[in-house]
């Protein structure tokens, strides 16, 4: 599983983050909470400035992680407004 350490720290911090920073973005590298940011670009840049071009976690603070739906992908276009 990728970003296992970062996601574990995110989950640990989530209760307090939900109280203070709902909708903001949190940047984490390893066990280092880089910060909480108003938008993704700010968090992205802060993480790059600290760690360079590498993988890190940049995730919006939200109560539940969504499960995306790609089940229709193989069927191509199915519904358009004409």
């Amino acid at each position: 599983m990728a970003l296992e350490t970062e996601i574990a720290l995110y989950n640990e911090l989530l209760p307090s983050l939900l109280e203070s920073s709902m909708g903001k973005y949190v940047a984490i590298k390893g066990n280092d909470l880089i910060g909480v940011f108003d938008d993704m670009d700010m968090g992205y840049r802060a993480a790059l400035d600290k760690y360079g071009v590498t993988n890190f976690l940049l995730r919006p603070v939200r109560a539940e992680e969504p499960i995306l739906d790609m089940r229709n992908l193989q069927f191509g276009i199915v519904r358009v407004r004409v």
């Binding site: 996601i7 976690l57 499960i67 089940r71 519904r79």
Partner: protein, 154 residues
Amino acid sequence: MSEFEFSYRSAIGEDFLYYDGPIIEVSINAPVPLISYLRDSHLPAYSVISGLAIIDTGASVSVLDENVMLDLEIPFLDTIWTDTIHGTAETKRYNASVRWSAATCRCSSELCSGWECSSLYEFWRGCHHAIGRDLLRRFTMTYDGPNSKVKIAT
């Protein structure tokens, strides 16, 4: 409002819109924060990869070809669980800039899932990107079947 029209009828009258669905040319690049970081750090800029994207209104999320992300060395920023027709799988999430015609569409507010696109599309022909409803909700698209055209307005 800007409007872009993509014609799918060949000179001999073949209707590619019917056979292939709406496929448009795109160029994929690193996201703006990464480009500005490289510039400010006096590091070489990322290359741009040109390819094709399929407009897929049946997909709730957009997909970037993970091989392209690896080629461009764009880091992934998150993972997410995704329901597919083959079951639920964990996918990596990327931030990138995708440009088509005169419009630049960033996978910014929502990250794009990285996936090997050839495993998604049975009739895949070099598509690097699937534009799902998360990006399409920013545009107005007209599917003109009788005239083999798709119009996208921004």
